[in-house]
């Protein structure tokens, strides 16, 4: 036994965090022990508060302490355009660009046959209801060009096609600073497909 029981449990718990291995977990545990009792208590309270207050918005499924969330209640937003993303993290990435002023819909995941994650596990039904009941003109699918992302886009397109709404997908191709020589076939063919006049 290298660690006393409470310390070993703390390391064990930190190791459950995504991307945290045994060494990182040890560093985090020792960092907690080096803090004053007040700051550790404050950290625990912050974690609990976040867990209790932050929920999925019942309208767009973004994470927020408000329901409906800040984006859904913002009257300056264009509610006729819905940008569909897979995770709240993607929404935040898009918000950082300050380019998009419309509404969002978070799917809370992607269709993943290998993990047994099907359409019923995502907020797809709610999206279709929104598109059908609200005055939506365009649905932008801002979904990663991965195999799971493509499967989700194909499925969404199949459901959205019969509705009177324009369905678009964000462009993809070569990344800024990327090297053409090293691009793979799929990226290059899609970059060629999505070329535009300059």
């Amino acid at each position: 036994m290298y660690f006393t029981r409470p310390l070993a449990r703390l390391i064990e718990e930190f190791q459950k965090f995504p991307g945290v291995g045994p060494k990182s977990a040890q560093r985090m545990a020792f960092h907690v022990l080096a803090q004053t009792p007040d700051s550790v208590r404050q950290l625990c309270e912050i974690i609990l508060e976040a867990k209790e207050k932050v929920k999925h918005c019942s309208h767009c499924f973004h994470l927020s302490a408000m329901d409906p969330c800040e984006i859904c209640t913002n009257e300056r937003r264009d509610t006729q355009t819905i940008c569909v993303v897979s995770e709240p993290r993607d929404l935040i990435a898009l918000e950082r660009t300050r380019e998009y002023k419309g509404a969002y819909h978070v799917l809370t995941g992607l269709i993943s046959p290998m993990e047994g994650k099907g359409p019923e596990d995502l907020s797809i039904r709610e999206l279709i209801h929104r598109v059908g009941s609200e005055n939506v003109i365009e649905v932008i699918l801002a979904i990663s060009p991965t195999v799971e992302g493509d499967a989700t886009v194909l499925y969404l397109n199949h459901l959205l096609k019969p509705l009177p709404v324009k369905v678009t997908r964000i462009a993809f191709g070569l990344p800024v600073g990327g090297d053409l020589e090293y691009a793979d076939d799929v990226t290059l063919s899609r970059a060629l497909e999505g070329r535009r006049e300059i």
Partner: protein, 266 residues
């Protein structure tokens, strides 16, 4: 750090750390391996496209302490057509799940199976035949390589040749068909009947045509099997696939998750 070169098909990926991906690859040289693609989740990564499931790459791997690291990857095939058809993509991912499940048991046949899988993905992408038919051919070829080839010519109990009139039920434990005579006599013995698990649903679905198709699929290459699709009734094909799938799941000892999605989309 020693390096080695392999040709492999990516089967599944998991996010690892901040920007890495852990990929399970079926290689022609070493069978199933797991390797880390460093920085593959970054948008500018040269590895991003090559780390996607179903991509065929020539890889140079560096031996690591616990996991090998992909040092170089040269893209060979990416099957872009598969990513534009939901049904075909679902079938391709089912092939990948089959390989993940049974790949470790193919120690001596890795090179043969690698070619089979690559050909199966090419045929699926080419969209020249019904994907359900191609899938049945692939499933039966896989069972053949694993040594689980279903017995469809002789009764697995009495070893008498099976004729259309004698077809009984498929028995998963015995890996073949039991003729009507043996099936009836066993039904008369409750103890034996309890110990065996007959699929009554499968028994109802068995028609001589279904088994003729199964035999045909076992004896022919996927390309030539494609020709049989036009004359094969859809119902028989569905029934044959259901039996083959339940036999595969029985052998795997687990449910194939990608089949749920396929059922939802079909």
């Amino acid at each position: 750090m020693s390096t080695y070169t392999v040709t492999g098909i990516n089967l599944s990926t998991f996010n690892l750390g901040e920007a890495d991906k852990l990929i399970t690859i079926f290689t022609a040289e070493r069978g199933l391996i797991r390797a880390v693609a460093k920085g593959a989740r970054k948008p500018g990564s040269k590895m991003a496209g090559r780390a996607e499931p179903l991509a065929v790459n020539k890889l140079q791997l560096a031996t690591g302490r616990s996991l090998d690291i992909i040092a170089q990857a040269e893209s060979m095939e990416t099957f872009p057509a598969l990513r534009q058809d939901l049904i075909r993509l679902s079938y391709a991912l089912y092939y990948a799940e089959l390989t993940l499940t049974f790949g470790a048991g193919l120690s001596e046949e890795t090179a043969i199976y690698f070619d089979e899988l690559r050909t199966a993905l090419r045929l699926l992408a080419a969209a020249t035949a019904d994907p359900a038919w191609l899938c049945l051919c692939f499933e039966l070829h896989l069972l053949d390589l694993l040594g689980y080839r279903p017995e469809l010519t002789y009764c697995v109990v009495c070893r008498q040749p099976l004729t259309d009139a004698r077809l009984g039920a498929f028995h998963q434990d015995w890996g073949g068909i039991i003729c009507k005579v043996c099936l009836t006599s066993r039904d008369r013995e409750p103890a034996t009947a309890e110990s065996t698990r007959f699929s009554m649903r499968a028994a109802r679905e068995i028609t001589p045509l279904v088994w003729k198709h199964l035999v045909l699929a076992l004896d022919c290459e996927p390309t030539s099997a494609a020709g049989a699709t036009s004359s094969s009734p859809k119902q028989s094909l569905i029934a044959a696939r259901r039996i083959a799938q339940s036999y595969i799941e029985h052998r795997a000892g687990k449910h194939m998750k990608s089949l749920d999605l396929l059922a939802a989309f079909s």
